[in-house]
């Protein structure tokens, strides 16, 4: 049985465990129909030209974990940003772990999707926001929508700021041979609210994991959302991350994606600007080796005047890794005075590495400033020589230059501890220890 059929039949089992009368279930049934029609995307589709899910579909994933697993904090401490105090929402094999988590209802809601989807007090919010910005015809998104039950639910009311950043951690224990996870997150920042989220997916063993995650983010007027995705997973873990962001007037949303690992990672990051004077920032650092594959697929839809977007993706590709960047900016006819900027720089450090990049502009308004730049190149030989002539070994010199290359992106990280953590991961990745932080 292929994965699609398996998912379709699992849906029937899934229905036994959820409230069929809840309006959300209608959304789910609608979504499974769409998925049934579309199936998994193939390489024939333009959006999936460079990324194939064929191998994943051959794996016999278990759709629902059979048993609940527990983990000790000390075993997984290193996956947290533990230097600072944070709210934590932790899932083990897709199941919420109350023991490891720290949620709150104190003025703000940092809790669970399962609660939000079932408890009546959340219904007004769910009615307004759930599945409202997520695509209704992208097949993997609809697949997630159909199975949406668990994930993080964050609601920040007007003028509120949570006391500390929020960490969302998805752990896979590998107690089963292969598991498929479908977390569904909903994040709402009401007017003038502000929050910071760090999200990480981590597999703890060599067993295969396939995560198909959907996150919806709503930023109301004047809201500020910082979202950090840390992707440094095991080489047997695959992730399709679908993030949909809807922004209102004057809001600022910044999404940073740090891709350092995983077997196959696909980031679908979609910004929809539904107001004026909006600022959207999309940044990413990708450093890959082995046979890893990362595909960044971004969309910024400028639908209103006077908005800005900034995109900056840097990639370093070694060994047999493959990098894909597909950035699309759409500027609608009415979106005059748009300022859209997109940059993608890549360094290939191995003969076997591949980079495919496709920055696209679709512009229908005339009074706009839109540009994109894209480069593929090597480290500057002369800069390398300069460093080495001053006694810095080649390896360290190379690492220094790569740091410098990625630094633009790191500069806008607003949690210092996270920044130094990312620096450490980069150092690890490059196999060096430079005695200072950049």
């Amino acid at each position: 049985m292929d994965l699609k059929d398996k998912l379709l039949s699992s849906f029937l089992a899934f229905e036994n465990n959820v409230d069929l009368d809840h309006p959300v279930h209608e959304v789910r049934s609608e979504a499974i129909k769409t998925f049934e029609e579309k199936g998994f995307p193939s390489k024939k589709e333009e959006a999936w030209k460079y990324t194939s899910l064929n191998n994943l579909q051959k794996v016999d994933f278990s759709i629902f974990p059979k048993e609940e697993n527990t983990l000790e904090f000390r075993d997984i401490k290193k996956y947290f940003l533990h230097e600072i105090d944070t709210y934590k929402i932790v899932f083990i094999d897709g199941v919420y772990s109350s023991y490891l988590s720290e949620t709150t209802h104190d003025g703000v809601d940092v809790c669970l999707m399962s609660a939000a989807l079932t408890k009546p007090q959340y219904k007004p919010v769910i009615d307004v926001y759930f599945n409202k910005v997520a695509s209704k015809d992208e097949s993997l998104t609809t697949l997630n929508t159909a199975f949406s039950r668990e994930g993080a639910y964050i609601y920040i009311p007007k003028n509120k700021v949570p006391k500390k950043p929020i960490q969302i951690l998805h752990l896979a224990t590998g107690n089963e041979a292969a598991v498929m996870l479908q977390p569904r997150n909903l994040i709402i920042a009401e007017e003038n609210a502000e929050l910071q989220v760090i999200e990480r997916h981590q597999s703890l063993t060599k067993n295969e994991v396939f995560t198909n995650s959907v996150t919806e983010i709503f930023a109301a007027k004047d809201a500020i959302v910082d979202y950090y995705k840390v992707q440094n997973d095991a080489n047997t873990a695959s992730l399709v991350d679908n993030t949909y962001i809807s922004q209102k007037d004057n809001s600022v949303v910044r999404v940073h994606t740090f891709s350092f690992g995983g077997k196959l990672t696909r980031n679908n990051l979609n910004f929809y600007q539904n107001g004026e004077r909006i600022d959207s920032t999309l940044k990413g650092v990708t450093i890959l080796g082995e046979k890893q594959h990362v595909d960044h697929h971004t969309l910024v839809h400028h639908a209103n005047p006077n908005c800005e977007s900034h995109q900056d993706y840097k990639g370093i590709y070694g060994e047999k890794s493959t990098g894909v960047f597909n950035g699309k900016i759409i500027v609608d006819r009415i979106a005059q005075k748009t300022n859209a900027f997109q940059q993608n720089n890549n360094i290939l450090i191995s003969d076997k590495a591949t980079i495919n990049t496709k920055p696209q502009l679709e512009i229908f308004a005339d009074d706009v400033k839109c540009s994109h730049g894209c480069t593929i190149g090597q480290l500057d030989e002369e800069a390398l020589f300069y460093l080495r002539s001053r006694g810095i070994p080649k390896k360290e010199a190379t690492a220094l230059l790569m740091y410098a290359f990625a630094n633009n992106v790191l500069q806008s990280v607003r949690i210092p501890e996270l920044k130094s953590r990312i620096n450490k991961i980069i150092a690890n990745k490059l196999g060096v220890r430079v005695g200072f932080e950049l």
Partner: protein, 481 residues
Amino acid sequence: MAYTEEELKKELETKEYEYGFYTDIESDTLPKGLNEDIVIAISKKKEEPDWMTEWRLEAFRAWKEMEEPEWANVNYEKPNFQDISYYSAPNKKPKYNSLDEVDPELLDTFKKLGISIDEQKKLTGVAVDIVMDSVSVATTFKKTLAEKGIIFCSISEAIQEHPELIKKYIGTVVPQKDNFYAALNSAVFSDGSFCYIPKGVRCPMELSTYFRINQAGTGQFERTLVIAEEGSYVSYLEGCTAPMRDENQLHAAVVELIALDNAEIKYSTVQNWYPGDKEGKGGVFNFVTKRGLCEKNAKISWTQVETGSAVTWKYPSCVLKGDNSIGEFYSIAVTNNYQQADTGTKMIHLGKNTKSTIISKGISAGHSQNSYRGLVQVNSRAENARNFSQCDSLLMGNRCGAHTFPYIEAKNKTAQIEHEATTSKIGEDQIFYCNQRGIDTEKAIALIVNGFSKEVLNKLPMEFAVEAQKLLEISLEGSVG
């Protein structure tokens, strides 16, 4: 003269197609429709050898299995391939030895087009192989060229007289089954140009062909083959205008360039086919496959000015097979009213130290859509490949669109690839600056557009540069909204 924007816009919109006329020449036309019999009939009419007929049939069979491509960013009503007549030749020939023998009506047409043959012959030194309704009727300067060993003739003539060259090279760069339109062209091509430059010869003049579409309901399927032997050089010009017509006309040409070791080919195009009226009715469909193959140290340079056609779908490409070969692409694409253009290039780096440059300027006005679509591919063995791409778009008014779809694929760590794109409009301050200095708005726009396109215009041979500038002015002046 003080124009207001409104007036300007109106004038531009009502500006009728300047070269829209229709010559009444009896044509020898095949019945509409396409099947194996038609393909054989075309081949027979051209008195082609059997291998050529078979080659066409092979292409036709492949075409039948293919589907029309839909990936381009254009919308149009698909042509009905069974409603097209695939062959029409001006009836009143045989070939002429001197211009006096040519049908005066035809000469008149040329005059309207501004290609007075005798004048060109004497003044510009350009050998013109005029293609009218698919059969070449006049070839000049053949003698001068023949002395150097250069073969410049219609492709049907070449099939008769130089079958060994045709057999060796046709379909090597654009195979019959390459794509839907290339297959169609391979099956039914009626005529085109053939050019062969022998080893070490530098072609003394710019070779040029003028294509025209005439005769209602006739599709035009040109096939051009240019072969530059080792160490040779040729500059080839191609220009087009078409009569006004209400129903859409299909044009699916194939151009193959072969530059052997150390050879250089410069291929320039000015395309000004009927773009349809201001409501977007009528106009030519231009679905062209152009590709060049570079051997060692060879260079192919494509320059194009695209102002016409209702729908353009065109990607002149370079396969940089030999080490140290160079590919260049310079393009200006102007769209107005309801025109749609999806154009760009492909640079395939296979050899070591290969270089490519892409400069693309898109100008859209009215309700038009202008897309750049390009591929830069560096293969794993292409050490030290270098590419620079620049795509600039200029938008006039807020009802048009400018799009860029660059594909960049690198499989070699020594590759250096740069791509940049910008989108902008003509600044009010720029126009104001010109107005201040006594330059009216219309002129100011022409000035700015010319400046915007200068990098590409500079690459055109003299004869074309003037014409191209004129075209830009006709297509755009004052269309700022």
